[in-house]
Amino acid sequence: MARLRGAALPLLVLALLAAAPFLGFGAGHALTLLARGMILGIAALGLWLLVGGAGLVSLGHAAMLGIGAYAVVVLDAAGISEAAVVLPAAMGAAALFALLTGAIAIGTSGVHFIMITLAFAQMAFFTTGSLSAYGGDDGYTLYGRTTVLGARWPEDRLAFHYLCLGLLAAVLALCQVLLASRFGRVLRAAKENAERVQAVGFNPYPYRLVAYTIAGGIAGLAGLLLANATEFVAPSFLAWQRSGDLLFMVILGGLGAPHGAILGALAIVLLEEWLAGFTEHWRLIFGPLLVLAVLFLRGGLAGLPGQLRGLLRRG
């Protein structure tokens, strides 16, 4: 019963996303916006696995996303756009970066980890900015979108919408399966009490490193999709503000369950769009909203139904 209720919210969200094109979100602009929300949702899910699952607060997750996007760029410049090549390249490159930087970062903890992931992300950011063959600071416009076995159906907006949705659902399922597995149990236990986990005979390090690498691969997938959605890639993909945005999505959604990350991503993408409709200085509103969300919305959006239920019961 509890399990069913736990699955209801994520299924509802996925169903709404599936129905969205027929509920007035079918226009080009709306679909673009939703695709962006789902893609960032995929990246946020990977980050959720780290923050909510393993207790690793990374402030450099955008670097993995950007590396996935730049893998698309490099292959595009070489004339390769086949997903069978681009997909493993994007995910592999991002996962490799995560593995190498994670090997050092995970040796540290707490605030050191936050700063080191930030520093490594800056390193990747500056590197992409100096790649003059791929546009340097100005970015790179793709010749064409990624094709699937030679077919160009992902260029269709609606097809792309459902592609993103399918991948989002798959990544969500992956996160849930991972968390429930033996591996996920060690990860969650080490988040709660690392001393206890060591005392029963586990070294948390390799588990955390594998989780970090998996999250990197997921971000690489999101990077590939984002490059396709915008047909343009720039160092700003890796900017630390984007890492902050991703972290905000995860927290706003709530750390209680992975689908919170999806809610957070959609909420923020839509909120940005909505605020930007009022004023070009929308961040003047967005910034304080973020502060207020941190101060008052402790369980995140995913925890909101529970909070409301509690309020109603008390009232």
Binding site: L284, G287, V291
Partner: protein, 307 residues
């Protein structure tokens, strides 16, 4: 590369180092004493620069601008502490990162709304304009030397404050053993405010000093913030001495790397790719140094906390 040029670059590196120290000192103290990670510390530096530039335009005097910008920076710091930060001291690092990130978004945008996106200029004061001949064939701007001297003087002052005064003793006690402060019956709220305001003022001072040699623009605080993070991670969080040495180290690596790397790369590569690879490597250099140091000393060079 001539020896004169190398010396100039080394001096530039030290000068960047002292500016970084002024920002990092506040950051490391705030973290050491309150266990509070403040991303918005960089915008204090930016606000210092903006206040300095606009007050200089208003009063026509660099010195008046400096004199007025400092209390203004202090006031803004205290206001932020009162409005936002003090509600975050007992929250986890994640909440602190996010809330202070929200403050950055707001202030960066506020600066754009008030001053526009075009960079501001702040003139060098007459007293400190021009160059000075340090050795035959080596002219160096007086103002840059002044930054170096002022930064070193403040570092000395800070060291005296932390090592020789009662408030400093509390700060050191807080950095090495936080529960002790509460056990001693110290009013931690007041101590926190003091440290916070002081840190904000130092960052603001760094901003004013940097304004005449840099372009004052939105987002200028972000770059400095991240370098300051690298500094305190290398130096050991909570340690002022560590922050000082690491700041000079990072300043030197950053500056010398940018001028030397392209030349070094030419040993292996043709000129054009050498320039490109050199530039890429130079911008990565401080992060590589940080990774290398942390791989061997995960708690930095001078960890403040025992145990």
């Amino acid at each position: 590369m001539t020896i004169q040029l190398l010396l100039v670059q080394a001096l530039n590196g030290l000068q960047l180092g002292v500016l970084l120290f002024l920002v990092a000192a506040g950051l490391t103290l705030v973290f050491g004493v309150m266990d509070f990670i403040n991303l918005a510390h960089g915008v204090q530096y930016m606000l210092g620069a903006y206040l300095g530039a606009s007050l200089a335009a208003l009063t026509g005097s660099f010195w008046w601008a400096l004199l007025l910008a400092l209390p203004a920076a202090l006031a803004i710091g205290l206001l932020l502490e009162w409005l936002v930060f003090r509600h975050l001291y007992d929250r986890d690092h994640l909440s602190q990162v996010l809330a202070t990130f929200g403050v950055i978004l707001f202030l960066n945008q506020a600066v754009k709304a008030v001053w526009g996106t075009a960079p501001l200029q702040m003139p060098v004061p007459d007293l400190l304009s021009g160059g000075i001949s340090l050795m035959p064939g080596l002219q160096y701007p007086v103002y840059r030397l002044a930054i170096l001297v002022a930064g070193l003087a403040i570092a000395l002052l800070l060291w005296l404050l932390v090592e020789r005064t009662r408030a400093g003793a509390l700060v050191r006690a807080g950095a090495s053993n936080r529960p002790m402060l509460a056990a001693l019956g110290i009013d931690t709220g007041r101590l926190f405010m003091l440290v916070f305001g002081f840190g904000a003022m130092l960052a603001g001072f760094a901003g004013v000093m940097a304004a005449p040699i840099l372009s004052v623009e939105p987002g200028m605080g972000d770059t400095v913030l991240i370098l300051a993070f690298v500094v305190i991670v290398i130096g050991g969080i909570g340690s002022v001495r560590g922050a000082f040495l690491a700041a000079l180290l990072v300043g030197l690596i950053e500056t010398l790397g940018r001028s030397l790397m392209p030349d070094l790369m030419r040993i292996f590569l043709a000129p054009a790719p050498a320039r490109q690879a050199g530039a890429a490597l130079a911008s990565m250099l401080v992060y590589v140094a940080m990774a290398a140091i942390l791989a061997f000393r995960p708690r930095g060079l001078f960890p403040a906390r025992g145990g």
